[in-house]
Amino acid sequence: MRVKVLIVEDSKASREYIAAMVEGVEGIEAVVTSSGFEALKLLPRHRFELIITDINMPDINGLELINFVKKNPNYRDVPLFIITTEGREQDRDRGLALGAAEYLVKPFEPGSLEELLRRYLKLP
């Protein structure tokens, strides 16, 4: 059984790039969505082992998604990674303060994400 990782990112190319990286790690299935709203809908329908989210998105922002996940007893233990870009330190710090486990600064190396995924998902 592969574990499911939710990727929330509104840029299609970024989303697919990250999904390709995540799927590149054996044992992981990537579920992708372009919006925070869709993520809210997906959460009760799947059992995600990890969530990767962008911060700046059009409907609800990534921080709100993190807050929602961390406040909800059903999801609060799911580790969250945030994807940020250089220069958005305040948003990053808030994400971490809200309970995000890690942050990734775009553009990032496939290796760094893979390593983090293995660590948090306890994959060999």
């Binding site: 709203f37 921080l63 809200l98």
Partner: protein
């Protein structure tokens, strides 16, 4: 991921989409220069630059990434209010957009030119140095907003800034709570947003962590209302939304003074009204107690007090928005606040010491104060992906396939026909009928497929209009003209290839209109015209054609000067000039060699490479026509077919040869006797319902042996105002054709646009109607 060509294509497609959206938003900003920018718009542009940076970074497009970074930084400062959006900033953004487009074009080709790299570096450096931050207020207005720090912690820096701005302006702030079913909350929220948007600014949408029932989800929208409470309540009638005001402490006197200086007059006035009753009572009380006391002494005297309702506590208990006593839910009927009067609410628990003031705007002034200008109450949630992009190469492959399917169909049809008629036995006749039925089915399916494919190729002509609009301002500035640029019919759709090819000719015409068609502001005033000239670009669908008009209200073309120039350059003889109508004279400006840079300024400037424009259009099977009136202006009409891909053609025979005539330009077919043909001024013409119709024998045109016939079929073709009767010997019927261009030296043959396969393994030439219309006239003229 391997950044191969597929990845590159994906990158280019998404980057193009981002740039298109960016361009549109910039255009709106450009049009509203001098007004306060809509924060949503600035944020949208920021997001576009941000996405572009992330995207190009991921795909290793360093130059784009660097420039996007610089642009994003600038936009970030703009949207966070650290920098004013002045002309310099806006011009830089528009310039950056141009550079992005150039960069993307190079990236798509896999090229990287040195001058562009330098331009990008120079631009990035300039963007970084742009502007200085405006003086910051000493006090953070957000401190005056009573909001749970927990709520504040999920705001992005931008949301926080918007909230701050709203507090600073004294806008009344609300928490709008609504619960929806989990399955379709996005629809519900979109609807709620659509209701709220015209009334103010949705600052943030917070999903409530407490599940709203088994299948529900609740949201808190932080909303800055630009309207009165009644208007807000009325606007939310019928939605599940519940309103609670967010409480803002009045500004301290010093801060209010600063605000009076900083804010627009109306806002300042509103704030002064709030502040002034408090001022004589107590000044400078920085902490809550003092300020609250002063407010409470003033408030009861002037404003209606609202008893707090008791539902307050429970709806705030989940922690998403929970400043307990600070929030007082207001039932829909509970508010009696009249617009224009600052309203004071008394919360349920805090009693007298905790009076808070919520400032609402005067109803009559809301349009002045409101920063977001929403011209059409646009309700849709803006998305970056409004269009489906289809790779044109793929589409062409499909179109070719359809063309081949059509050939199969034609063959089948022929087989069926012969089987049915020549079949010796009953079985084969039955077989023929079967075949015929199948063919009909195939035909229907093919038609649907063809239609769908053609539709996929169609794009709104507005895509190119928007790009042009961006350049108009710059050209006008360079030329020292004042121009109002009017766009119409942007929704009219044309084949993607045609739209792409249109931008150069249109650019040319618009540049001409601004540079030379339109007079200087002083000259216009002297001529009794408004200072500002109007240059308009309009599209309109007319049957199978689209007509695009580029017009100006400038000086018009002096046809006598055109005549002189044409004579001087030997383009026409004196005798010809004598005979020419005004319209014919005007059309001389399209002749190659008519214009040179020198003649331009002499001639109120028409003619800069108009022959090139005309040729470009000719390649698109389109024609161009000019109208002009001295002192009133000039208009160019471009008539274009809706698509070039698959067309229906009339198959005709002349001197034993077969040709295809695109049916979209065929108006009617006549049968005429040779004696009906008259010669007027050495041109052959026909009388058609009292109108004189120029007449051309196709056999003569292509120098084929003419056969004596006792009647001609005359195919009447027309584009725009031009009409021509083309005489042919036989009519063979109609067929769908896919025109293939002719290669090599055949390309330059006038009157032929390409070749097509008719399905019975016969290749025939397709007539170029636009060229024939011209050639017809020119031939006759030469003969004269």
């Amino acid at each position: 991921m391997n950044p191969g060509s597929k990845a590159l294509a994906e990158f280019v497609a998404e980057a193009t989409e981002i740039l298109d959206a960016l361009g549109k938003d910039l255009l709106v900003l450009d049009e509203r220069r001098g007004q306060e920018a809509d924060p949503d718009l600035v944020n949208g542009i920021f997001r576009a630059a941000h996405s572009l940076k992330g995207l190009s970074g991921l795909f290793g497009q360093e130059r784009i990434s660097r420039l996007a970074h610089g642009t994003e930084e600038l936009l970030d400062r703009l949207r966070l209010g650290k920098l004013r959006l002045d002309d310099t900033a806006l011009d830089s953004l528009i310039e950056a957009l141009d550079a992005f487009q150039a960069l993307l074009a190079e990236a798509a080709r896999g090229a990287e030119s040195e001058p562009l790299t330098r331009r990008v570096e120079e631009m990035t450096a300039r963007l970084a140095q742009l502007g200085s931050p405006p003086a910051s207020a000493e006090e953070d207005p957000l401190d005056r907003l009573e909001l749970d720090p927990q709520v504040r912690s999920v705001f992005t820096e931008y949301e926080e800034h918007r909230l701050r701005e709203n507090v600073r302006r004294g806008v009344s702030l609300w928490r709008v709570r609504a619960a929806f079913d989990l399955s379709d909350f996005d629809k519900g929220l979109a609807e709620l947003n659509a209701r709220l948007k015209p009334l103010g600014e949705v600052i943030s949408t917070l999903p409530s962590a407490r599940p709203g029932g088994a299948h529900g989800i609740a949201f808190d929208l932080i909303f800055g209302a630009q309207t009165t409470t009644e208007q807000l309540e009325a606007g939310l009638q019928g939605t599940p939304a519940e309103l609670s005001p967010l409480v803002v402490q009045p500004a301290t006197h010093a801060a209010a003074q600063a605000l009076v200086r900083a804010a627009e007059p109306v806002t300042a006035a509103a704030l002064t009204r709030v502040d002034s009753p408090a001022a004589p009572a107590k000044k400078g009380g920085k902490k809550k107690g003092g300020r609250a006391a002063s407010a409470s002494t003033a408030a009861p005297a002037q404003q209606p007090l609202l008893p707090a309702s008791t539902e307050g506590g429970e709806s705030t208990s989940d922690g998403a928005v929970a400043p307990g006593d600070a929030l007082v839910p207001v039932s829909a009927s509970g508010l009696q606040a009249s617009g224009g009067t600052p309203v004071t609410y008394l919360p349920g628990t805090g009693v007298a010491q905790r009076v808070r003031t919520v400032v609402t705007e005067a109803p009559g002034t809301s349009t002045v104060v409101a920063s977001p200008v929403r011209p059409d109450g646009d309700t849709s949630l803006r998305s970056l992906t409004q269009t489906v992009r289809v790779d044109i190469g793929k589409l062409d492959g499909l179109i070719n396939m359809v063309g081949e399917l059509l050939l199969i169909k034609a063959n089948l049809q022929r087989l069926a026909e012969s089987a049915r008629q020549d079949g010796a036995v009953a079985l084969s006749k039955l077989f023929g009928q079967e075949l015929a039925r199948e063919t009909r089915g195939l035909e229907r399916k093919l038609e649907a497929l063809q239609e769908g494919l053609l539709e996929a190729r169609m794009v709104p002509v507005g895509q190119v209009f928007d790009k042009l609009a961006r350049l108009v301002r710059r050209i006008a500035r360079e030329a020292g003209k004042e121009i109002e640029f009017v766009i119409g019919g942007g929704e009219v759709e044309l084949d993607k290839l045609i739209v792409e090819e249109l931008s150069d000719p249109l650019m040319h015409l618009i540049r001409n209109a601004i540079d030379h068609g339109v007079e200087s502001p002083e000259a216009r005033l002297a001529a009794g015209k408004p200072r500002r000239a109007v240059v308009a670009l309009r599209a309109e669908q007319k049957g199978n054609h689209v007509v695009i008009e580029v017009s100006d209200d400038g000086a018009g073309i002096d046809e006598q000067r055109v005549r002189e120039v044409a004579l001087t350059r030997g383009l026409i003889t004196f005798a010809q000039a004598q005979e020419m109508s005004r319209r014919e004279l005007l059309n001389l400006i399209f002749l190659p060699g008519f214009s040179t840079a020198r003649s331009v300024s002499e001639l109120s400037g028409r003619g800069v490479g108009l022959d090139v424009v005309k040729n470009n259009l000719g390649n698109l099977s389109g024609i161009i026509d000019v109208w002009s009136e001295r002192g009133k202006g000039t208009a160019f009409h471009l008539t274009l077919p809706v698509t070039l891909a698959i067309i229906r053609a009339l198959v005709v025979g002349v001197s034993g040869r077969t040709y295809a005539v695109p049916l979209n330009s065929v108006l009617e077919i006549l049968s005429v006797q040779p004696r009906d043909i008259r010669t007027v001024e050495r041109r052959e013409v026909l009388d058609l319902r009292g109108q004189t119709l120029p007449f051309m024998r196709l056999a003569r045109m292509f120098a084929l042996p003419e056969r004596p016939v006792n009647r001609y079929f005359v195919v009447v073709v027309g584009l725009a105002q031009e009409r021509l009767g083309i005489a042919v010997d036989e009519l063979h019927g109609q067929q769908d054709i896919v025109t293939k261009p002719l290669g090599g030296r055949l390309q330059s043959i006038r009157g032929i646009s390409g070749a097509t396969d008719l399905g019975n393994r016969r290749t025939v030439l397709v007539l170029d109607v636009a060229a024939l219309l011209e050639e017809g006239m020119a031939l006759e003229r030469r003969r004269a």
